[in-house]
């Protein structure tokens, strides 16, 4: 009777408190893999009941309002170090050779959306008419959302699954995902995948983009930048120039 007499008290309150704090803090090291395992198991349920909003996407913007796409006035301007600055209407862009790919989208804050089906055009096909000059070493991607801008070296922009997407999962790119056109570079974190594109400028070398000015890495390789992993595993040089020139 001594063991569990009515008066005997256990300090479960602090145990629950301390245990919860410890489990929560340690989850910083295992939470993501545990969640991806759980959501993998629940994949079949997810088709009927969305467990997280919008299939895992989050919508990040840096300005007060989201850019609005007007097909009548929107243009994609291609300029900078090119022989002939040009611009595309939405209809003209849709007439360029269409490519499709399925790739995974990684956000630097830790969330990931797998198997996104993008439809659009290759960067090279957009640049072709403008004929980039040989000393252009980087591309500046200008967003309608000011002051958002980011850069890729010409080498990075020539990676085989880099594209300018105007479709997502079989539908025109939704406004919150950057309508009408966004950059897709699956090897790099989302902040490089500039939304609401308005222009591409060829420049001598990379400058600091919006987030890079706030301390993010210039080369945003997934798993190898911004404090994750170690050194870049992919070629991050801008030594070879003129990838897009002929």
């Amino acid at each position: 009777m001594e063991v569990d007499a009515p008066g005997r008290e256990h300090r479960y309150g602090r145990a629950v408190f301390l245990g919860t704090v410890a489990a929560g803090l340690s989850s910083l090291f295992w939470g993501r893999s545990a969640w991806s395992r759980v959501s993998g198991e629940l994949g079949s349920v997810e088709a009927y009941v969305p467990l997280v909003p919008l299939g895992g996407w989050r919508i990040y913007t840096v300005s007060g309002s989201m850019p609005h796409f007007d097909p009548a006035t929107w243009r994609l301007a291609v300029g900078g170090q090119v022989e002939e600055p040009t611009s595309f209407t939405y209809a003209q862009l849709r007439k360029l050779p269409r490519v499709e790919q399925v790739s995974t989208f990684h956000c630097v804050t830790g969330w990931t959306v797998k198997h996104v089906r993008w439809g659009g055009v290759r960067v090279a096909d957009v640049l072709e008419r403008s004929r980039p000059l040989p000393d252009a070493g980087a591309l500046e991607f200008v967003s309608m959302e000011q002051p958002y801008v980011d850069y890729l070296t010409t080498d990075q922009a020539a990676l085989k699954d880099v594209m300018l997407a105007y479709e997502m999962d079989g539908k025109p790119l939704p406004r919150e995902h950057g309508a009408p056109l966004r950059l897709i570079i699956p090897e790099m974190y989302g902040y490089k995948n500039v939304k609401w594109l308005a222009g591409i400028n060829l420049v001598p070398s990379e400058q600091l983009g919006y987030w890079e000015q706030l301390g993010y890495d210039q080369d945003a390789w997934v798993g190898h930048s911004n404090g994750y992993g170690s050194t870049p595993s992919l070629p991050a040089s801008n030594s070879t120039r003129g990838v897009f020139t002929r």
Binding site: L28, P53, I59, G64, E176
Partner: protein, 200 residues
């Protein structure tokens, strides 16, 4: 009901509860605008909402600390001790469907208090890591958003249960009076918290 009222919660306890609740609702509202794409699209102004969420979080914790420091600390310490300790009746209450006699807090309320205290610390820690990680990659963990969002989901479940018991469930909703004006009906207190001896 006897018409005779006994004091269940002191002014410090009630202030702590309502400061916590107010902060939680501001954070939940602003957090959902940041989290749910449909709200993010409808409302926009993300930089402003981010600032509101961040400063509401800081304000929430600071206000809780202030209430503790300026309030009846000795009373709160006694309350913490009550919440900490589980006797055999508490274990019976948890395992036997809530039938064993209880003190001022029943075992479910004790667990809820411990979880809420732990969640406040975890919300603060993960929120600060999100804020710092945006400024310095040394503070960046791939799982910070999972923790912060997970806490939100579990908190929502606890909140829905709490609101049901406090506002709707006929047997328990009288307790709301204790948290608003401080006093509850003596008969109700005797029925639900038999081992509690209210202060004279």
């Amino acid at each position: 009901m006897s018409g005779l009222y006994v004091t269940r919660f002191s002014r410090t306890e009630r202030t702590l509860h309502w400061v916590n609740a107010a902060g939680f609702f501001v954070l939940l509202g602003s957090g959902l605008v940041l989290y749910l794409p449909s709200l993010a699209i409808a409302i926009g102004r993300r930089p402003l909402i981010k600032d509101i969420h961040f400063w509401a979080g800081i304000g929430w914790i600071a206000a809780l600390v202030l209430v503790v420091l300026l309030g009846d600390r000795r009373g709160l310490l006694r309350t913490a001790r009550e919440l900490d300790r589980f006797d055999r009746d508490d274990r019976l209450w948890l395992t036997g469907g809530g039938r064993a006699p209880q003190g001022r807090f029943n075992a479910g309320q004790k667990l809820n208090a411990s979880l809420n205290a732990a969640f406040a610390i975890l919300f603060l820690a993960s929120g600060l890591l999100l804020w710092l990680g945006e400024r310095d990659t040394r503070f960046r963990f791939a799982s910070t958003v999972v923790l912060h969002d997970g806490l939100m989901y579990v908190s929502l479940i606890l909140l829905v249960g709490h609101l049901y018991l406090a506002l709707i469930h006929p047997a328990t909703r009288h307790a709301l009076r204790g948290m608003t004006v401080g006093a509850v009906d003596a008969e109700w207190a005797h029925a639900h918290h038999r081992k509690w001896t209210p202060p004279e």
